[in-house]
Symmetry: C2
Subunit: 245 residues, 2 copies
């Protein structure tokens, strides 16, 4: 059996997230069905770097699966794509080592949260950004975010804590930038807690719109209480950008 | 009664085009219902610059309507948007002269047709471009398109000819450019025939992929036979950019 690593891009709008749930359309199920149709296997099990929620998008999700197929990676990309619905595509395939695990071996993942800072919501961005109809100060957001850099207990941004062994993670990079009306919150870490980026985005939004002072971020981090942070920002603004191994 | 001019942006994906058709969701119907809800009128009739087909998008469609409302234009923009579904938005409103007609008074309209020239279709662009999975030579397309500049009988690009008084129009500008994998065909004219931009795009695509020589465009224009031109390119690649008066 070969262990294959896939890079996957999807528009999360019409998916109930990554993970298979009976009765719902998910990325995992679509991908496993497409692979099985090509390799002729009854059941394929795909393991991903990070399970995205309903409505969340991915440019570069990574996953791996074991398969007896002898098809070349380039051929597999074309063949699997021919079986996939239009809102998900495999962009790369390579043969990985036998022990490679897309989830456990990730050393860095980067997410982007998009706020479209415009008075009139843009119909073309409604599914690909959060459009609060309120202007935000991206420079204040950037400054406030810097306190999150480094190794911390991030339970203040974890929905349903405790649901992991530990809520300590390392944020390697966090930056808030602007391109015209689009404000990008990018967060890179060795791992993320459930809804962590959306909770950070929701908190930064409260600072960006002037509801909270910049210094509030430090208090929230140190308070270790999810109720002190901002609301979980809506899913359609979130994109998983890439995963590094 | 004031005559108001609106600029409207819409994602055409889930609309059956602009024009009201009983039993179908259209931009015109959504807009007229939103305006009527604000002005309290029983029936509002909106007249647009160019009726877009099912699946076609608009950044800057323009329309006008007569109304007794005394609300200020800026207030109307907010109020109408509060009643509109998320895939359509009014971006501007101004008071026009009594005789202003969004359709007849247009002196120029500009459309963009987007071909995403990539081997692997992008899930995020599936509703906003044509993705033929084939590379195109945008420079050859640009050169071939130049023969269409000026005043000509464009019936070779008109679906269901004859359906207008005349099929003579003036193309003021036509250009094919590239930004990465996106190839933009932009056509500006004093007016357009039914499906004209999509027929031009479909023809240029045949030239861009090397199926036809560049010189074929002149033959098609002079032949005045729709069957000699290329197929009508799919609607999701087309955007109405703006209208000038």
């Amino acid at each position: 059996m070969r262990n294959l690593k896939l890079t996957v891009r999807y528009d999360g709008t019409d998916f109930f997230g990554w993970q298979t749930q009976p009765g719902f359309r998910t990325v995992q199920e679509s991908l496993e069905a497409a692979i099985a149709a090509i390799t002729g296997e009854k059941r394929v099990r795909v393991n991903c770097a990070g399970r995205t929620d309903s409505g969340v998008h991915a440019y570069g999700q990574v996953c791996n699966f074991y398969t007896p197929t002898r098809l070349e990676p380039a051929t597999l990309v074309k063949a699997i794509n021919s079986q996939l619905p239009e809102d998900v595509a495999v962009t790369d395939c390579e043969v990985a080592g036998q022990a490679f695990c897309a989830n456990k071996d990730a050393i860095a993942k980067r997410y982007r949260y998009v706020i479209n800072d415009t008075r009139i919501p843009d119909p073309f961005l409604r599914k690909y950004s959060y459009q609060p109809r309120r202007n935000v100060d991206h420079e204040a957001m950037h400054r406030a975010a810097q306190v999150l850099r480094g190794r911390h207990d991030f339970r203040c941004f974890e929905t349903e804590w405790p649901n992991r062994m530990t809520s300590i993670r390392t944020i390697q990079d966090i930056a808030v930038t602007r391109q015209g009306e689009a404000v990008y919150i990018e967060v890179q870490a060795d791992g993320f807690l459930y809804n962590m980026v959306r909770a950070i985005a929701g908190t930064l939004y409260q600072i960006g719109r002037g509801y909270w002072p910049e210094a509030k971020m430090k208090e929230i981090l140190e308070g270790m209480d999810r109720r002190e942070a901002g609301p979980t920002a809506p899913p359609q603004g979130l994109f998983m950008l890439w995963v590094k191994y």
